[in-house]
Amino acid sequence: MSTLWTYARSNIERTALIVAALVILMALFGGLLAPFDPLKIDFRSKILPPSPEHWLGTDGSGRDVLSRLLVGAQMTLASTAVVLVVVATFGCAVGIFSALVGGAVDNMLMRLADVWLGFPPLILALGFAAALGASLEAAIWALIFSWWPNYARLTRMVTVDILSRKFIASADALGVGTGAKIFRYILPNAFDVLIVQVTLDISAIMLAISGLSFIGVGAQIPLPEWGAMIADGRSYVANGWWIVLAPGLMIFLTAFSFNIIGDMLRRELDPTSRRR
């Protein structure tokens, strides 16, 4: 963590790190801090503007926006994390396997990944929603299904480069086995490139999940997912701007911060100038 802080070269980057840390804390402990039940409907207090009691006001069904935002952070970020972990693990495995085996298998896997990338995730998500019913799970499955080729291709490219380096030849001469080669030689050397991709993808996947929820094929309306909250609030924009603004701002800030951090990592961990 302290290493990350030393990478920051401008106030924007420092702000991005702070915002990202706050959002992660929110996702971890938001549920404990929420002053109200995020799902409790109370039509007597609907569309109340921000006040000392409801800091961010209430939405069209009288639910407390702050509570929904805090609980929603967990929902949005946990979904993003699930997608990323699955996609990165599977993609890396395919990429390393492809690079190590090489030849026709390598060619076949990579062309498969190319074709796979041709499917737009949105259309896939609509398909999944049609098959599984529109839900957050369907959106997560759709993203997992469509995102892995990115990692497979990236990892394969990085691995091929690493395999051509001389320390791999030295490892062969020492009798290093395939497993040790993957975990002690390939992955640590690919880490720099992968961590940058993962950081940039946090915002991309978060936006995709919120986007899918917004158009109605992701999380469904009573759930406090940020994208769903915007979808729910858009009919009240005229007399309840806070209902849309609060989750919108959160999505913007989170995505923006992780993007800045991703760019920062790319600059600092650039493999062409690797240093410790």
Partner: protein, 325 residues
């Protein structure tokens, strides 16, 4: 000193796919504990020969001949697999370029303990393993080996990295150490020091060494016998003591004649005319004939003789130059 540790007979190496013969009919033997040299210009096949013989080259294969290690002949079927089994224990390599031959993400200590684990099944995190690694770092002349154990490769200079690379190979305690141009990346003074240290440590441990270099002068000062490769052919196996004194193989002589040294006048130094032949010349005629100052028609027409008996004092010269007296 007469027990052969490694023996090659009529070894031929070809490219996968095209089957083009890159190295043809090489016969030589290295005794237990001997320091043996292999000299040749770039592209003469010296690196290809050793790397293929020990199964490290993916794009070539052993197309003919036999390789025996410690009295056991390796099978031609599944040769690569069998040869690779010798690595990490029986045979060690000191790589060419110390700057890129160390894993930048692993501490120096870890790279040595990994080597110890692979060769001797010592537990990677054990205290004894740690101590053995620190000892070997000290043995190759790294100052403050305990500190070096915890450092990353990029915290060392080229000379120090070469010592680390050597320490990794030394840690496995192989019977045969192959050092392929181990010092080309270093300056002349460091080069001499590292080679001397390396050979001294290997002699103490009774390890055989194959020192591969394009630098005849360096080899002449460090090895007793050397094999001369040219165009993928074995041309000469010479006692280094004879070089510069007796009649020797014309190519070995030509190599020696380009080295400036004490007692030589400017007229004594002669560059070899023409361009070097690449590997893959085959056996039809002497690859060096076009550049040889003794060349006669027979040199182009006849097949090159083979050192099938892997004997010492072999000359492939078709004019018989350099044959032992």
């Amino acid at each position: 000193m007469t027990v052969p540790l490694l023996e090659l007979r009529d070894v031929t190496i070809a490219l996968r796919g095209s089957n083009r013969r890159m190295v043809t009919g090489v016969g030589l033997s290295v005794s237990v504990g001997e320091v043996f040299g292999v000299v040749g210009e770039s592209g003469s096949g010296k690196t290809l020969l050793t790397r293929t013989v020990f199964g490290l080259q993916d794009d070539t294969y052993l197309a003919g001949g036999t390789v025996s290690f410690a009295g056991r002949t390796l099978p031609l079927d599944g040769y690569m697999k069998a040869a690779r089994k010798l690595l990490g224990g029986e045979v060690g390599f000191v790589p060419q370029d110390p700057y890129s031959s160390l894993n930048p993400t692993m501490r120096v200590g870890e790279q040595i303990t990994e080597a110890l684990y692979l060769a001797k099944r010592m537990p990677m995190n054990g205290t004894a393993t740690r101590q053995a690694a620190i000892d070997v770092l000290g043995e190759v002349g790294i100052p403050e080996p305990e500190l070096a154990f915890r450092q990353f490769p990029d915290q060392f200079s080229g000379g120090m990295r070469q010592r680390i690379v050597f320490a990794i190979a030394l840690a496995q305690d192989p019977k045969l150490l192959i050092a392929d141009e181990p010092t080309t990346a270093l300056d002349a003074i460091t080069q001499r020091r590292v080679i001397e240290l390396m050979l001294d440590r290997c002699r103490t441990r009774g390890m055989a060494v194959i020192l591969i270099s394009h630098n005849l002068e360096l080899l002449r000062q460090s090895v007793d016998r050397l094999a001369v490769l040219y165009g993928g052919q074995l041309h000469n196996i010479a006692e280094t003591a004879a070089i510069g004194h007796h009649t020797i193989h014309p190519y070995t002589e030509a190599l020696f004649d380009c080295i400036p040294s004490k007692g030589k006048t400017l007229e004594d130094i002669r560059a070899i005319r023409g361009e070097p032949a690449g590997a893959g010349f085959g056996l039809k005629g002497c690859a060096f004939a076009s550049r040889c100052r003794y060349a006669e028609p027979i040199c182009v027409e006849s097949d090159l003789p083979l050192n099938s008996a892997a004997q010492n004092g072999f000359t492939a010269c078709l004019l018989g130059r350099g044959a032992p007296q």
